[in-house]
């Protein structure tokens, strides 16, 4: 066998130095200074519940479904509900939108909750010490249940009083099963109850009872919602069926088959839900709305689905009179026209005098909005002891007893996720009140706001106000898109139209695991470190040093010359380059 020729004695004269270059402390050149600094993703700040979306997508991408699900639960006890009915303001601001399409955050939430349900996950949160203050919660709707969830997780004993036979409020009685199956809702209510709150059903609360309660509890959370439909103020209004009642009876199984034209008056979510239910019961719904389609307060995706199912919409007509006509009803409609904009948003309308139209219908349903059922449900409007939090209002009665209003009573937007936010904000505010006093509430809450906005992080609050992120919101320009490639957003599969409109089965189908993971992988993970190690790879001065810290690495400023490569190559702006003496 030949000896390896490279080992023959041919002298090679090359430049080689064993002197360490460590003597050359390139750090002294630095005028700019890179730092690890996580920032806030726009989606989290836009989610009223302040979910840590960037991290949730990271966990999902890695198949850590339980962790991802717990991350949601940390901020929102209703992933299965919100994964179905939330209008997902998070997606509207998703940075990925400027690259191709927003991440389907809502669908991933749905997937995670389904996965949790399938595998029987239970959250592994630490059990808190029981507190001495007790809270009474009026109304077992999404706001009251959320307040109970967050209060229980801090150890406050809670009693929820609900006038209906089952908990859930609008989720149970106002949302039809094709959007939210009852079992799904019950699963999450069970989880909330398991955290400690007692739910007392069939317990209507009167003003008197409330006075009584104040003796046994340390605070009351008012989450009675909007139980009273608003009035049309037209002749024959009493001939119309109330929309909320219609949906509630449907939930109780009291509804019969319908036939012929059913007119639905209104443009909100209730109107859309009524129309879609009518369709499923055999009727031919016609939605009549005073303004234009784009002005409808119903969430656009729900309006779209209704129209796709073949529901007709008559815009710019308002009801003027309802009459009985044998077995049918005769409806007089007033034509409207657009006369400018109200608050620069929705159309201001005026009647077109003299232009009316008559239509007949087998049934008329009014769904034009609702308000508090009792005057004492309403939060006080003024007074020195009133504290307006985002989505909650804290007030004190003459005796100084704290009453905190949440849900639809206190939120600008009526949505489930706003109700969740109000429950959370109320819980945090009460905790600060009991421990630090009223004057500290605003300051202390600010520290746990997500970004600088109106969403708050329960996790940050629990971590004793240690902020994990900078409030700065990562913009699309801060994403290094070289590290991402275009990919199509998943589309949620739905029941075929014929099947959907003939039953109350859930229309949106489950999302397969591989699709969900693929979709989560589209997320830029704006502002958070995913341990990609680009900084380590790119640093020309080997100044990024791995260590055992939570961050996993630090910068050796003896050698970091401040070139900023690490910051430029961080795909997701989890690093910041600052002036040296900033």
């Amino acid at each position: 066998m030949n000896k390896n020729v490279s080992q023959t004695k041919f002298p090679v004269y090359i430049a080689r130095s064993r002197q360490t270059t460590e003597v050359n402390k390139t750090g002294s050149w630095r005028v700019m200074c890179p730092e690890y600094e996580e920032k806030t993703s726009p989606c989290s700040a836009a989610c009223p519940a302040g979910e840590d979306i960037a991290l949730i997508q990271m966990f999902t991408t890695r198949g850590l479904f339980k962790k991802a699900w717990e991350k949601i639960l940390m901020e929102n006890p209703f992933p299965a509900v919100c994964g179905r009915v939330c209008y997902h303001p998070c997606e509207t601001v998703c940075n990925r939108k400027q690259f191709d399409e927003p991440v389907a955050i809502n669908s991933i939430e749905r997937f995670l909750s389904d996965t949790a349900d399938k595998n029987g996950y239970r959250p592994s949160f630490e059990k808190p010490e029981t507190k001495k203050e007790k809270i009474a919660i009026i109304g077992a709707g999404p706001a009251g249940l959320s307040a109970a969830w967050f209060l229980s997780r801090m150890g406050y004993p809670c009693d929820i009083f609900e006038e209906k036979s089952e908990p859930g409020g609008i989720l149970r009685w106002g949302i039809p099963p094709y959007r939210l199956p009852a079992g799904v809702l019950q699963g999450e209510i069970d989880l909330i109850a398991a955290a400690g709150a007692e739910i007392h059903c069939n317990r209507p609360v009167s003003a008197l009872f409330l006075t009584d309660i104040k003796k046994k509890y340390n605070a009351v959370f008012m989450g009675c919602g909007h139980g009273q439909s608003e009035s049309l103020n037209i002749e024959g209004e009493n001939l119309a069926v109330d929309g909320l009642n219609f949906l509630s009876e449907l939930r109780q199984g009291k509804t019969r088959r319908l036939h012929g034209r059913v007119v639905v008056l209104g443009g909100g979510n209730t109107a859309v839900d009524v129309a879609r239910s009518v369709l499923r019961l055999g009727g031919t719904p016609l939605v009549i709305y005073r303004r234009r389609r784009e002005d409808m307060p119903a969430f656009p995706q729900d309006v779209n689905m209704a129209l796709e199912e073949g529901i007709e919409l008559l815009e710019l007509y308002g009801p003027a009179k309802i009459e009985k006509n044998n077995k049918d009803y005769l409806l007089t409609l007033q034509k409207m026209h657009v006369a400018g904009l109200e608050d620069g948003k929705r159309a201001a309308i005026e009647p077109d005098v003299g232009k009316t139209k008559k239509i007949s219908a087998q049934m008329v349903v009014k769904a034009i909005g609702a308000g508090p059922a009792e005057t004492w449900h309403k939060p006080p409007v003024a007074g020195k002891d009133i504290l307006h939090l985002s989505n909650a209002i804290l007030s004190f009665d003459n005796a100084g007893f704290p009453v905190i209003f949440g849900g639809d009573l206190a939120s600008e937007i009526e949505s489930v996720v706003h109700a969740v936010a109000s429950g959370k904000h109320a819980a945090i505010a009460l905790d600060i009140l009991f421990n630090k006093g009223r004057n500290k509430i605003t300051k202390k809450m600010e520290i746990c706001s997500v970004g600088n906005g109106s969403s708050f992080s329960f996790e940050t609050y629990l971590n004793r106000n240690h902020r994990p992120r900078r409030p700065e919101i990562v913009s699309y320009e801060q994403i290094n898109t070289d590290y991402f490639s275009k990919a199509q957003r998943i589309t949620v599969q739905r029941l075929p139209k014929e099947e959907a409109i003939n039953s109350f089965a859930e229309t949106a189908l489950n999302i397969p695991e591989n699709f969900a993971v693929q979709e989560a992988a589209r997320c830029f993970n704006c502002g958070i470190c995913t341990q990609c190690d680009n900084c380590f790879i790119f640093c020309p001065d080997v100044a990024v040093i791995h260590d055992k810290s939570k961050q996993g690495r630090h910068i050796n400023y003896d050698y970091c010359k401040g070139c900023g490569l690490c910051v430029a190559e961080c795909p997701r702006s989890a690093m910041t380059l600052k002036g040296e003496h900033q």
């Binding site: 066998m1 030949n2 390896n4 490279s6 080992q7 090679v12 090359i14 430049a15 064993r18």
Partner: protein, 392 residues
């Protein structure tokens, strides 16, 4: 075992047999087949190597500089513009004394675009410190690739194996594909003379002032000379195992020749036939094939050509403002010899134009006709161009 292989495939199989550890390349016609074969060989696990696909030839060589410095056998292939883009790093590889091996498929450099054979691309790299070996056929390409690793590791200089585009790179021929055992015997695993080692950290090729640089350069020249000296010994070892030998240069019927034709690459094969035919007609003609261009085997060339009256150099390349590059080198090599033969330079086959039997016959006729060359370079078979119509 005999197999019918494409020239590119022969090179790729040789790289596999040499148990290369890192391959990095960027595709370019007419070299692409080589790296295609190799990526396939790596993907199917026939060779356990890291194949690094890069965004440019410059990066390909940069990647190999890193890998070779880490102490493993490395290979790349390129051509024409790609080779030109590597130029800076070709100097670096040689200066750093890294035994990188590259297959270079000769192709004309643009502008204008042309993908056919011409040697100007590789010859333009003659001063980079790379050993250059020109091949005549697929068997030689395969054997030379194996030998290239031997030479590179012997003297710590990079080696370029040069192939004609299409005539060689894309032509199928019967090739004797050696067994792995045979190759292992000739080319055992690579143990580098120096390598990057985190346990023994040091900097390579740091700033080197005037008081050392000249000696480093001289050491490179010694390595080139060592290559020439050791080439026969390497070939002996190769012959013992594989039964084939080529020579740094190969003289054919030169002993009594009055006129010697000098060639490189595939045109040599055509020339072998012409010589035979002319000999049959009683012409005293010989052929000198040049395989090793760097280092240039001056002694041997002088010894062979010294006896002839005239030398006809066929150059498939050109140095503008001067002449064919092989002709230049031959002139320089034999100048000052007593009775130095006259050197006739011919330019033929640029940009892939065929060099046919007739072309070579005409070259012989022209050389025989004149006592002394009238021009430094005679351009063969130039077409009449109607400048009125065809020029701008």
């Amino acid at each position: 075992m005999k197999q019918v292989l494409e020239g590119s495939q022969a090179v790729a199989e040789a790289v596999r047999l040499a148990r290369v550890k890192v391959i990095s390349a960027y595709p370019i016609t007419p070299q692409t087949h080589i790296v295609e074969f190799l990526s396939d060989i790596c993907a199917t696990g026939r060779l356990k190597a890291k194949y690094i696909h890069v965004e440019s030839e410059h990066s390909a060589m940069a990647a190999l500089i890193g890998a070779a410095a880490a102490g493993v056998r490395t290979f790349t292939a390129s051509s024409s513009q790609g080779l030109a883009l590597m130029h800076e790093l070709l100097h670096w590889t040689a200066g750093a004394r890294l035994p990188v091996v590259m297959a270079e498929v000769n192709r004309a450099l643009g502008a204008p675009w042309n993908v056919w054979t011409e040697q100007t691309d590789s010859l333009a790299q003659r001063d980079t410190g790379w050993i250059q070996l020109y091949c005549e056929n697929s068997q030689e390409a395969l054997d030379t690739t194996i030998q290239a690793f031997y030479l590179a590791e012997l003297v710590n200089l990079p080696v370029m194996i040069v192939l004609d585009a299409f005539y060689l790179s894309h032509t199928y021929e019967p090739v004797d594909l050696p067994d792995q055992d045979q190759v292992d015997q000739f080319l055992p695993g690579f143990t580098p003379k120096f390598q990057m080692d985190t346990k023994n950290p040091c900097a390579f090729n740091q700033l080197s002032p005037p008081n050392v640089l000249m000696e480093m350069r001289y050491n490179m020249q010694l390595a080139m000379e060592h290559t020439i000296k050791n080439f026969p010994d390497m070939e002996d070892k190769f012959f013992e195992i594989f039964g084939r030998r080529y020579g740094a240069v190969e003289p054919v019927m030169c002993d009594d020749a009055d006129i010697i034709l000098v060639t490189s690459g595939t045109v040599t094969s055509t020339s072998r036939n012409i010589i035979q035919k002319l000999r049959d007609q009683g012409e005293k003609v010989g052929l000198l094939k040049i395989k090793m261009f760097r280092p240039f085997p001056v002694e041997e060339i002088r010894r062979i050509l010294g006896r002839a009256d005239k030398v006809a150099v066929v150059d498939r390349n050109f140095s503008f403002g001067a002449s064919g590059i092989f002709a230049q080198e031959i002139r320089a090599a034999i100048s000052g010899m007593p009775g130095c033969p006259a050197v006739f330079g011919y330019i033929a086959g640029l940009g892939g134009r065929d060099i046919t039997f007739d072309t070579l016959q005409e070259i012989y006729r022209l050389t025989k006709k004149d006592e002394k060359p009238k021009l430094d370079s005679h351009w063969m078979e130039l077409r009449e161009v109607d400048y009125e119509i065809e020029c701008c």
